[in-house]
Amino acid sequence: MEAQETCSYMTHGAVMPFCKGCGHSNILKKLNDAMASLKLDPEDVCLVTDIGCIGLADALFDKVHTVHTTHGRSTGFATGLAVADKVLASRKMKVVVLIGDGGSMIGLLHIVNAALMNVDVTVIIANNFLFGMTGGQQSSLTPEHFVTLTTPFGSMNPSLDICRIADASKGGFIARKIATDKDLTDVMAKAISFDGFSLVEVLELCTEHGTKRNDLKGGMLAQMAEHEGHELGIIKENSLRKEFSRKYESDVQSHTGEIKQPAFIEQESLHNLTKAAGIIISGSAGERVQSSAAMLCEAAVRCGLNTTQKNDNPVTQGSGFSLSEVILSPDEINYTGVSRASYVIISSEAGLKELKAQNIFKRIDNDTVIITDESIELSNNGYNVISLPLRKACGADKATLGAVDYAIRMYGLFPHEVFKKVIEKKFGQYETIFKKEFLTFWF
């Protein structure tokens, strides 16, 4: 569709649904004029409206796409629309958010993040210092001493300077205007055409709730802002930052990171299991417990086994215990817990402590082979314990790996050669993985 100079984005002869004298009417007319001055193709405009009186605007703009959202979240939806449009559709949609002072606070996070991302979204905040639609309650943008329905003695808090928040969020275009300003149209047009995030806070009057309770006239808005220490006019206008999609494109193109599709695992040998084996490996965080278990699984798959590996660790991943429950089976594995452990590896004191805490000894019997570091003292309940100098021979970080290596050699679950190849892929030549003399410790 060709944009025409006379194009109006609002419904012809639209009746404003607002109270007499409400600033919203002015803001919307000027928004319409601003879009017209930019000759935007209506198909390329999406007006995203928030909840509240200003949110009624969507019904007035019948030429452009309108998305009327949940309270405060308008900038969030707008961000998704803008990113998808610019990155995926490679178009030039202009997304304009209309939000009130109340919505701007509950949705502050979305505004901050849109500014940080520098998405091509314009946020227009119609600030009449209170929640109009719900009866004139205090908002976070209500100035100190301002009387509202819920602050009959005047607001105790000063008002939030949302323009400064936008500035701190690295937004490129920021302005604070008054609804009656002659150049409001121009400023809105500048904001919309700005290639990146822009925000215009427009100060106005709620004639239903604001002016009735306060000695306030339009002419006093500038003074009010000054009193709150809020700057007026275009506060910031710089295009130092690239708009999101442009930055994204160049960053993705120049990406040389490690992302690769994990490859399939070829079967190269045969296993010796006739039934499932449950292996519980417990040790300390940062000592390759879970990665040793993963390498065990990979080798097992290379020998035609099915595997599951269920990990556990404290919420802080780098401290305390680390535990893996591994099942190797010639059959399909359903339940992923180890009901009865065939092998248990305990490579550190933290590992033992966790086994006790989780009552795992209930799943251990006299047939279970327990491979522990020599430092660990297990009460002798007739357990089949093999105590080895794991930490000494393999180093703390490879004690678990050494124990897994030992178990595969000793109990012949599948050819050790296969495991050796898997760990060599990660650590280099087998002979250099553990301490030189490690084999002599147990053979």
């Binding site: 569709m1 999406c46 030429k63 009327h68 399939f264 695992i265």
Partner: protein, 378 residues
């Protein structure tokens, strides 16, 4: 040796791969254990697959970004767990009322509240199904293996696109974070479905309305924001054109249609696995991680010459009522193991099981074991 395509994958990774297969082009994520693997998977995969994955500052933003991207015409997904899902409840209703396709993967963990980040749970079934004010159905799929994560994620997208609705892919910590060996053969053949869209040149355009329908099962063609047809979307009750209206008949019927369009397609939304045996006294019904445990218990029972039937539910909602009634028809007892304290799915399906003894096995903090189910098979 056969040519298998074996790999080690977690359920979370397979959700990401399934989403890519389904044609997902947009993902927004916020970190949360045990769902973060989906987020990382999408961050890695989407840029190589003509899509984009972004980080969001909270879960409300994550879903709002996804809904926005979907309104622009792109298949979108986010992933979270209980605490994040709680924050998304308003936004998912927005997707529902604006008939915007979107997939939310909810990887359950131990609740309530922050509960246990690294512990499993199956306690978000009811909050998921009853997330809407007014009682509208959010379709829910629930895989029980990593491989099923792939298939059902793709299916979740298909449902979202076909029925223009948010769809929840329920998962749990044990499925999401456990790595298992799986075989990719067959996964490539999955069918994917794209939403039907409309433009001004479409012959249907003359009679088209944003949310119009001639019959309960009809789903209006989708007009993307930015297309040549003006989009009018609102989270408020609206008429077929999308304009906010109060209480007129058209508005109420447009609202009711949100539910009717799902219920009138519910027979196409049935995904279960029936493992029924003649002369079985007991039927076990389960899903997710517990469905796997059920399989082991059933195996052992049958080895001990006890007949038992088992039903794995993948399509949790709409409830596959006929399948459940049929599976239970010859049994006296129905056992429903689930890892929550109040028997959430049991509450839902109990009215279908008239004249049956309905027994729950419930647990919090650790997986239900095969032995615990076996005890209940007689």
């Amino acid at each position: 040796m056969q040519t298998l395509q074996k790999a080690l994958r977690s359920g979370n990774q397979m959700v990401a791969e399934g989403a890519i297969k389904a044609g997902c082009k947009f993902f927004a994520g916020y970190p949360i254990t045990p769902a973060s693997g989906v987020y990382k998977g999408m961050i890695d995969l989407l840029p190589q697959n003509a899509g984009i994955a972004i980080s969001s500052p909270d879960e409300i933003s994550a879903l709002a970004y996804c809904v926005g991207a979907s309104m622009r015409g792109y298949k979108s997904m986010t992933a979270t767990s209980g605490p994040g899902w709680a924050l998304m409840i308003e936004t998912v209703q927005y997707a529902l009322i604006t008939e915007t396709p979107v997939v939310i993967c909810v990887v359950q963990r131990l609740g309530p509240c922050t509960g246990g980040a690294t512990q499993g749970g199956q306690g978000d079934i009811l909050i998921t199904e009853f997330a809407t004010s007014g009682g509208y159905t959010i379709p829910v799929l629930y895989p029980s293996t990593a491989k099923e994560c792939f298939r059902l994620t793709a299916e979740a997208f298909n449902w979202a696109e076909k029925y223009r609705t948010p769809v929840v892919l329920l998962s749990d910590k044990e499925i999401g974070m456990t790595t298992e060996s799986l075989d990719y053969s067959g996964l490539g053949d999955l069918k994917t479905f794209d939403r039907k869209t409309i433009s001004k040149t479409d012959p249907d355009f003359k009679n088209w309305k944003m949310y119009g329908f001639d019959s309960p099962d009809m789903i209006a063609k989708f007009a993307p924001v930015g297309g040549d047809i003006k989009v009018t979307a609102t989270g408020s009750a609206h008429n077929a054109l999308g304009y906010l209206k109060k209480n007129d008949t058209e508005t109420i019927s447009t609202l009711l249609h949100l539910e009717e369009k799902i219920t009138s397609h519910k027979n196409e939304m049935v995904l279960v696995n029936e493992d029924l045996q003649d002369n079985a006294n007991t039927l076990i019904i389960s899903f997710g991680i517990t469905a796997r445990t059920m399989k082991d218990a059933v195996k052992t029972a049958r080895k001990n010459r006890i007949n038992v039937s088992a039903l794995t539910i993948y399509s949790m909602f709409p409830v596959p009522e006929e399948k459940i009634i049929n599976a239970a028809s010859d049994c006296k007892r129905v056992v429903i193991p689930e890892e929550n304290i109040n028997g959430q799915y049991r509450k839902i399906i109990k009215p279908l099981l008239k004249d049956k003894e309905v027994i729950g096995i419930n647990k919090a903090g650790s997986m239900i074991t095969p032995e615990e189910i076996l005890e209940r098979i007689i």
